[in-house]
């Protein structure tokens, strides 16, 4: 009887198990990710995008390549810093980093605020997201030339696996149109990102001012390529209310308590390669010869000079792009790091913000516009210029509000138009230290300051590269379009090819 019972029990359990096997109702719940979400507040995306776009300007990688081309940074190394010695490498990081920012921003327009384009809860937010995106596109195309634009940034169900490269001319035409449209959409009173907006904490009036500064920048960007359009765009921006004080500067405050939120140049010091922390000769010499009051705040005295008795401090930069044998013989202790009081100081009392668009930028651009007579007269250039230098000196970490008498001459703009432009751009070059993309792009379009290339021949026959090379993945994953775009360049996908902006 016992046997019978267990037999029945056994069969019962058996079929229970079989029945269990057809119960798949909880699958949906089981297959929902416990650590990520299908929706997210767009403000969280904005914060990330703002940080990423700003911080990448002053990071070690950007400084090694663009910062040494611009002769802010030196001490090239045969391994990691090949590009600083004009040896061509595909620029994978600029490309993937900026397209990733666009991926996140595109989620706002393609998903999170979709359908709210004309409603107060979406209108201005979408416009701001678009303005940030435009700034990213501007940098991306300016660095490489033609890039995938109209077939990129699409919703994930509409993604084109092999996006074609748009011509730079077409991209800028569209960026200008999109910027104008976005400015028009910003409506005071609409919902904002609030504190998630790291630039302006949701102040829409300031956003409009920033947008016009960006318009000024884009207008200047195309000055060589399309002077007529440039004049139109710049003139329109000159006529609008834009950033007019350091208080309106677009910037992100850093902290020194969390390495992830360090100023990127401080991270270069604390976490980067010790060989890549030296400044370039041209930059240091300029600060020394002009008795720039920022010298000690930018440049540290050489380690060996600190040991001299009596102490004679030496501020000395390394030549950029040195050939192997010269580089091997360098005694680094004879050269200057970035200042251990400011950029390389983890204990700095007032952490340095990461600047996105400063009042000084606007002043220098206005001075340049005035020289051209675009929206201002050439006579106004000197004032704009002096304001720019003063604004640049007053920024953290310099905080120089009284210009020393020895430097007053530098605030005077005189000479031929070319000489004046050189002076404006030289000051801008100094003020753009730690914003290596911007420094490079401004130098490239004007040729000022005049920089003598390093001795290493590299792949450019010893000239400073005119662009970044496309990333290696494009030649594998998007070959046809990559070839077509490279074919449009004067010298193919090389450092020496000149893009539309740079004709």
């Amino acid at each position: 009887m016992n046997i019978m019972k267990s037999y029945i029990k056994f069969l019962f359990t058996f079929f229970l198990l079989v029945a269990l096997a057809s119960c798949t109702k909880n699958f949906e719940k089981l297959n929902t990710s416990p650590v990520s979400s299908e929706l997210m507040d767009p403000g969280i995306i904005i914060t990330q995008a703002q940080k990423d776009a700003a911080f990448t300007q002053g990071g070690e990688g950007t400084n090694i390549q663009f910062g040494s081309w611009m002769q802010h940074w030196a001490s090239g190394n045969v391994g990691v810093a090949k590009t600083s010695r004009y040896i061509q490498q595909p620029d994978n990081s600029t490309w993937s980093f900026h397209y990733s920012i666009i991926r996140n921003l595109a989620q706002i327009r393609n998903k999170l605020l979709l359908g709210k384009e004309s409603l107060p809860e979406g209108r201005s937010k979408l416009a701001i997201a678009k303005i940030i995106e435009i700034a990213v596109w501007d940098r991306l195309t300016a660095v490489y030339g033609d890039i995938p634009y109209s077939e990129s940034g699409l919703a994930e169900d509409k993604v084109i696996p092999n996006p074609k490269y748009d011509t730079q001319q077409k991209i800028y035409t569209d960026l200008i149109a999109q910027l104008d449209k976005s400015i028009g959409l910003i409506t005071i009173g609409d919902n904002t990102y609030g504190a998630a907006d790291l630039y302006y904490a949701g102040d829409l009036a300031k956003w409009k001012k920033y947008a016009y500064a960006l318009k000024l920048q884009i207008g200047m960007r195309i000055k060589k390529a399309d002077p007529v359009l440039a004049q139109k765009v710049v003139t329109e921006a000159m006529g609008a209310l834009t950033i007019s004080s350091n208080a309106e500067t677009a910037a992100i405050q850093t902290v020194t308590s969390l390495p992830a939120n360090y100023h990127p140049t401080l991270s270069q010091y604390t976490a980067g390669s010790p060989d890549l922390q030296y400044l370039a000769k041209a930059f240091v010499d300029k600060l020394v010869t002009t008795k720039d009051p920022r010298l000690t705040l930018i440049v540290a005295p050489s380690a060996n000079s600190l040991k001299t008795v009596p102490q004679v401090l030496v501020y000395r930069g390394i030549d950029v792009a040195l050939p192997d044998n010269d580089l091997a013989a360098v005694v680094r202790a004879d050269y200057s790091l970035a200042s251990l009081q400011t950029y390389f100081n983890k204990a700095i009392a007032s952490p340095i913000p990461v600047y996105v668009m400063t009042y000084a930028d606007v002043c220098f651009m206005k001075a340049e516009a005035a020289l051209e007579g675009w929206g201002a007269t050439s006579a106004q250039a000197a004032t704009f210029y002096a304001d720019g230098v003063k604004a640049a000196l007053a920024m953290n970490p310099y905080n120089i509000t009284t210009v020393p008498a020895t430097y007053a001459g530098e605030l005077v703009l005189a000479g031929t138009k070319e000489q004046q432009l050189e002076k404006i751009m030289t000051q801008r070059w100094i003020s753009l230290f730690t914003r290596s993309y911007d420094a490079y792009l401004e130098w490239r379009r004007t040729g000022y300051p005049v920089l003598i290339p390093g001795k290493n021949i590299g792949n450019t026959n010893g000239t400073i590269p005119r662009r970044s090379a496309y990333p290696s993945d494009e030649s594998i994953l998007n070959l046809v379009n990559y070839k077509e775009a490279s074919g449009r360049l004067s010298n193919g996908d090389s450092y020496t090819s000149r893009m539309w902006l740079d004709k």
Partner: protein, 1134 residues
């Protein structure tokens, strides 16, 4: 179930047995070895009394046999020989109707506990089975008749179903406990190396406690690892490898299979792909390794077996270092300390200026100051980069001075016993390894208990519980990471002594005398390194001031209930779990050079993994006619996988030397959770006609939680046939003893990982100004994802020749995997990195041969067995996804490993520079420099395929009486590997290859080039004669990490390795007469002894990868050496 059947038959046959036994009795009455038998019996009774009396007494009350005081159990001894009088070893001797059994030893002897009237069944491969009834005599000699009617051996097939091999319609390979090496491998998977046709084993370069990659019949999946499913006693084992090492470092914490104690293993069945494994549904696509562990044998008293194994290991292959030239550049030093102003100058400038003083070396991060391109080391006075004065001399023993001899000790005890109703098995094993990398230790304790009990006359319960407790300490970092000592040593200047690094932190004199370091890191007490990279290390600091530890507690439990409902209907139910938690701690103490702000960091995680399994199976067998039999099975299966990780990471310690999350400035939580379920229903069956024609069929439907409701149900069928032609056609020739033809067609597939049907946002770990940040996945997921599907066909023959002296197993197979779940890479200009979709069709086809035979077998007891196996797999990527012709499997600096449409999987594509060549392939040499001309920009160049042409093994074993010697050669031919060890050696001039022509006499092979009208280099036809320095030449090959001619860094990965040599000896029984021992075996073994063929530059080709995933295929990355182990082993049975 089998035992139930035998038991039933036993009762039926009782009467006949009795008659038979009486007649046998008379034959052996005069045996002289009875005394020995009694002695043994006495010892075992002693053991029983001491060790197991209560338990034994307890279970014996359940016994239905052996209680009869008039018919006591006794030790029956005997010898089995063939018709020519030669001993038959390995013959199985069992008692009909019970689970008691044993096998004969090398001399054909056996002993078994039995009682009068028991029927002994003696069977051996190649012989007719014999039955002998036990009589009064306790010594029995049996002569077996060789036969053609064999292949009656039983193999374990899918779901643990035991079948006669002859009835199986697909290739199945079995390894018995005796086939596993006498010398212990730390990871059971390594035991498969070279032993089974079509099974390729490669191991991570991580020493004892590391993972192994097993691939059966080629790689099927583009993503993942293509490894088979391991099933232990019917329950799948989680063979996952959490956070394996990658190309930028990481640590191998060992896979699941490394937790199985080899001494517990009774049998391993290898189901090679879907044909054999379709019943495992989606998990069987890459094949299944079925492991059956030991269970108790019905016997008198307690069986005790103690094994002790001790092995030492040293590097089998070391880098080919040069010891002639030291640190510097252009054959000179780079710097000079002037004795006048004590300042440091560039060397040339100082010499030109006529300064007096000594040469000084400088630190740096690249070959310019750190390379061994300097002067000859002839004892010059110099000052090193830390200001220590000394003689400039070669420091040849970098590896030897740092690394330790590895030791591995394994001790185990196995106990078993039981009667016909209950048997039990218990084992304990301890594995202890002190690693090659100093301070690395692994300790593993395995307990296993199993009991099989007939709880009702027709119901058997089999319960097993294993516990694995494993701790690891300071497991080495692998691949391209500075805390991998092998990575440091390959580029370390040949003139830097380990002594200068042994003092591993900065002292005041070091700081005062240093050259080339940045002030940011030269701080008192901070880790002192010879290189200045941001992520560099001092190996002595790494072993003393950083560390990792891990602790794994694992339970493998299984319960199986068999019930015979009706004589023709049986049911079985099994539940099992593989359940473990793993705690990991990593830290770098304050002042570690590469840590955040030099302040150290740590992380601690606890991961809990649980794989639950339950199945139920109903089996019916029917005789349709006298000749036609049918068995039908139906079952259901449920599996759930669960993984949850929680932990914390912290950076920047406040109080030095306090490794605690609370003591860090920045703390970040770690959390992860994944869950999935698979439910299945299946059925299978077999028609058997006249014991020579078999037709098998199976069908299974899976429901998987990882796919959408529309796609989560999928069906896999299989069909196979086996035809014993030699029986069907009654072939009875001297040449052909046995012939079986088989074929099979099956499908299986996989449903991928959880959470891949919906796109999601993830919050970053940090906030900025109190604001959270986050982003969207870079993977375009697809809600319509379907399961992968592998369709596999195989056909083969099993044949035996010349009275079974030679046996041949040959198989052809073709497997096609469709709809792979792939993360197809997108150009990032789409803004997405990958699109997850069903794409890709991979074909694998190949042949497998296994030839074995016994060339010599003499009456004096000498026997020579040879087994050769061979497998050639041809792989083709038939298609990927419209518009995508290559899929990147993995990459490293200067190389990508891709699957390209129309080509075999695993193509190595150089992604850096290539030589410019003329039409006939000669390198073009620039007449001005004497150097070969490189492509102007990096190019993609095909450099060969990582997959071998064929793999195989040759095993020779010799036996003379109680002495055995076996030698296993493991063979791999063809296939390429990309070496970063070679790259570092060439860039830094540390290896012998860079010695030739240091004085400028190196003549690069190639033809002199000239520029044609268009500025293009063309050949002049004349061979180059211009000499250059070795430095100039090798720098044009590999100037630095990312500036190389990729093709120069490829090695042929072929090898013939003497994988295993085993010498064993069984002590003659007469020596044990007055001891407590029944049997004593002694063994001496060597593993990975040496190569008969190898082409790699300073590393072991089969143990070079940093993990066991497909992404590391064909990549060597400054691997730690594979170890050559030499060990001794003693096994004692009581």
């Amino acid at each position: 179930m089998l035992s139930l059947l035998i038991f039933y038959q036993h009762l039926q046959n009782m009467k006949k047995v009795k008659d038979f036994a009486l007649s046998v009795f008379g034959l052996f009455r005069k045996s002289t070895t009875t005394k020995v038998g009694f002695l043994m019996l006495f010892v075992s009774v002693q053991c029983t009394l001491v060790n197991a009396r209560p338990f034994n007494a307890d279970i014996s009350s359940l016994s239905t046999l052996g209680k009869d005081a008039n018919n006591p159990l006794a030790d029956i001894k005997g010898k089995v020989s063939d018709d020519k009088g030669a001993p038959v070893s390995g013959a199985s001797v069992s008692i009909k109707g019970s689970s008691r059994g044993t096998t004969t030893d090398a001399t054909g002897h056996f002993s078994i506990v039995a009682q009068e009237k028991d029927v002994l069944v003696i069977s051996a491969v190649g012989f007719l089975s014999e039955m002998v009834t036990v009589g009064k005599d306790q010594e029995i000699n049996i002569v077996l008749q060789s036969t053609n009617q064999q292949l009656s051996e039983v193999v374990v097939t899918a779901l643990g179903v035991k079948r006669t091999n002859r009835s199986v319609g697909y290739s199945i390979a079995e390894l018995k406990a005796s086939d596993l090496s006498a010398g212990r491998e730390a990871n059971l998977a390594n035991e498969l190396s070279g032993k089974v046709a079509g099974v390729m084993v490669s191991r991570a370069a991580s020493g004892a406690g590391g993972s192994s990659k097993v691939v059966i019949r080629g790689l099927n999946s583009l993503q993942g690892n293509s490894q088979p499913l391991y099933v232990v006693d019917g329950v799948p084992l989680n063979n996952g490898n959490l956070d394996p090492a990658g190309r930028w470092g990481g640590t191998d914490y060992g896979d699941g299979i490394s937790n199985i104690d080899p001494s517990d293993v009774e049998n391993i069945s290898i189901l090679k792909g879907p044909n054999a494994a379709a019943l495992y549904g989606q998990q069987g696509a890459n094949g299944v390794v079925l492991i059956t562990t030991k269970s108790g044998k019905s016997r008198k008293g307690l069986g005790i077996k103690v094994t002790s194994d001790y092995a030492v290991g040293n590097a089998a292959v070391l880098p080919d270092f040069q010891d002639v030239y030291g640190q510097g550049l252009n054959g000179k030093f780079t710097h000079f300390r002037n004795s006048g102003d004590t300042k440091i100058y560039g060397y040339d400038a100082a010499i030109t200026a006529g300064y007096a003083g000594v040469a000084k070396t400088s630190a740096g991060r690249d070959r310019l100051t750190r390379g061994s391109w300097g002067p000859q080391m002839i004892g010059q006075d110099y000052e090193d980069q830390w200001g220590t004065k000394g003689k400039f001399l070669a420091q040849p023993n970098t590896f030897q001075n740092f690394f330790d001899t590895e030791t591995q000790a394994t001790n185990s005890i196995n106990l078993d016993g039981g009667n016909d109703n209950v048997n039990y098995y218990f084992s304990y094993s301890n594995f202890n390894s002190k690693g090659y990398v100093p301070t690395n230790k692994i300790n593993r304790n395995t307990f296993s208990a199993r009991t099989v009990a007939k709880i009702l006359p027709k119901m058997t319960l089999d319960v097993k519980l294993s516990y694995v407790g494993q701790t690891g300490n300071n497991r080495p970092t692998l691949s391209d990471a500075s805390d991998n000592p092998a990575y440091l040593f390959i580029s370390q200047p040949r003139s830097i002594s380990m002594k200068s690094l042994e003092s591993y932190f900065w002292t005041a004199p070091d700081i005062a005398g240093q050259l080339g370091y940045s002030s940011a890191r030269t701080i008192l007490g901070v880790e002192k390194t010879y290189a200045t990279n941001s992520s560099t290390a001092n190996p002595f600091w790494t072993t003393n001031r950083t560390g990792n530890s891990d602790k794994r507690d694992r339970i493998l439990a299984m319960a199986n209930l068999d019930y015979e409902i009706l004589p023709w209907l049986k049911a079985a139910m099994r539940v099992g779990t593989d359940f473990y938690s793993e705690q990991r701690l990593r830290y770098r103490s304050k002042f570690t050079y590469a840590s955040p702000n030099l302040n150290g960091d740590m992380s601690e995680t606890v991961t809990r993994i649980k794989d639950d399994y339950a199945d139920a199976l109903l089996t019916g067998s029917f005789d349709l006619t006298n000749d036609l039999k049918l068995s039908l099975n139906a079952g259901a299966n449920y599996q759930k996988k669960f993984l949850r990780t929680v932990g914390n990471s912290g950076s920047e310690f406040v109080v030095p030397d306090l490794v605690s999350i609370g003591n860090t400035l920045t703390k970040l939580p770690i959390f992860g959770l994944t869950e999935s379920e698979i439910q299945s229903l299946y059925g299978f069956g077999q028609f058997a006609y006249k014991n020579y024609l078999y037709l098998d069929f199976s069908a299974r439907n899976d429901w998987s939680s990882t796919l959408s409701p529309e796609n989560n149900s999928f069906f896999y069928p299989s069909i196979s046939t086996s035809f014993i032609a030699s029986d069907a056609f009654k072939i009875n020739s001297k040449i052909l003893s046995f012939l079986k033809l088989r074929s099979s067609l099956a499908q299986a597939g996989s449903s991928g990982s959880p959470y891949q049907t919906k796109g999601t946002f993830t919050l970053g770990v940090n906030t900025l100004s109190g604001q959270p940040m986050g982003g969207y996945t870079s993977v375009i997921v697809s809600p319509d994802l379907k399961n992968e599907l592998t369709t596999s066909f195989e056909a083969g023959i099993d044949a035996r020749f010349f009275d079974n002296k030679i046996s041949l197993v040959a198989t052809y197979y073709h497997a096609s995997t469709k709809n792979q779940i792939l993360d197809v890479p997108l150009p990032i200009s789409t803004t997405f990195a990958t699109k997850r979709l069903n794409a890709g069709n991979i074909d694998n086809q190949g042949i497998e041969l296994s030839l074995s035979g016994t060339p010599i077998k003499t009456n004096s007891g000498f026997r020579w067995d040879v087994t050769f196996n061979y497998a050639a797999n041809r792989n083709k990527v038939a298609s990927l996804y419209p518009g995508i012709s290559t899929f990147r499997l993995g990459d490293d600096r200067n190389i990508a490993v891709v699957a390209e449409v129309g080509k075999p999987f695993g193509a190595l594509i150089g992604t850096n520079f290539a030589w410019q060549r003329d039409a006939s392939g000669n390198r073009l040499i620039d007449p001005a420099t004497g150097l070969p001309i490189r492509s102007a920009t990096p190019v993609n160049e095909y450099l060969g395929n990582a997959m071998p042409d064929w793999i195989g093994g040759l095993s020779n074993s010799f036996k003379y009486k109680s002495i055995g010697l076996s030698v296993l050669l493991d063979i791999r031919q063809g296939g390429k590997i990309f070496s970063n060890t070679l790259r570092e050696g060439l860039t830094y001039g540390t290896i012998k290859k860079t010695l030739e022509g240091r004085d400028g006499s190196y003549i690069a092979e190639g033809v002199i080039a000239q520029k044609d009208g268009t500025g293009k280099w063309v050949s002049t036809g004349a061979a180059n004669t211009k000499g250059v320095t070795a430095q100039a030449y090798w720098n044009s090959v590999a100037a630095d990490k990312d500036n190389v001619v990729s093709s120069e860094l490829i090695n042929d990965a072929s090898y013939i390795s003497v994988r295993e040599v085993n010498l064993s000896y069984q002590l003659a029984p007469k020596l044990l007469k007055n001891t407590a021992f029944k049997k004593v075996y002694l063994g001496l073994y060597g593993r990975n002894l040496f190569y008969l063929q190898r082409f790699t530059d300073g590393y072991a080709p089969e143990a070079a990868s940093f993990n066991v995933n497909n992404s590391s295929l064909g990549l060597e990355s400054t691997s730690l050496p594979m170890l050559r182990n030499i060990g001794i082993r003693a096994t004692v049975e009581f």
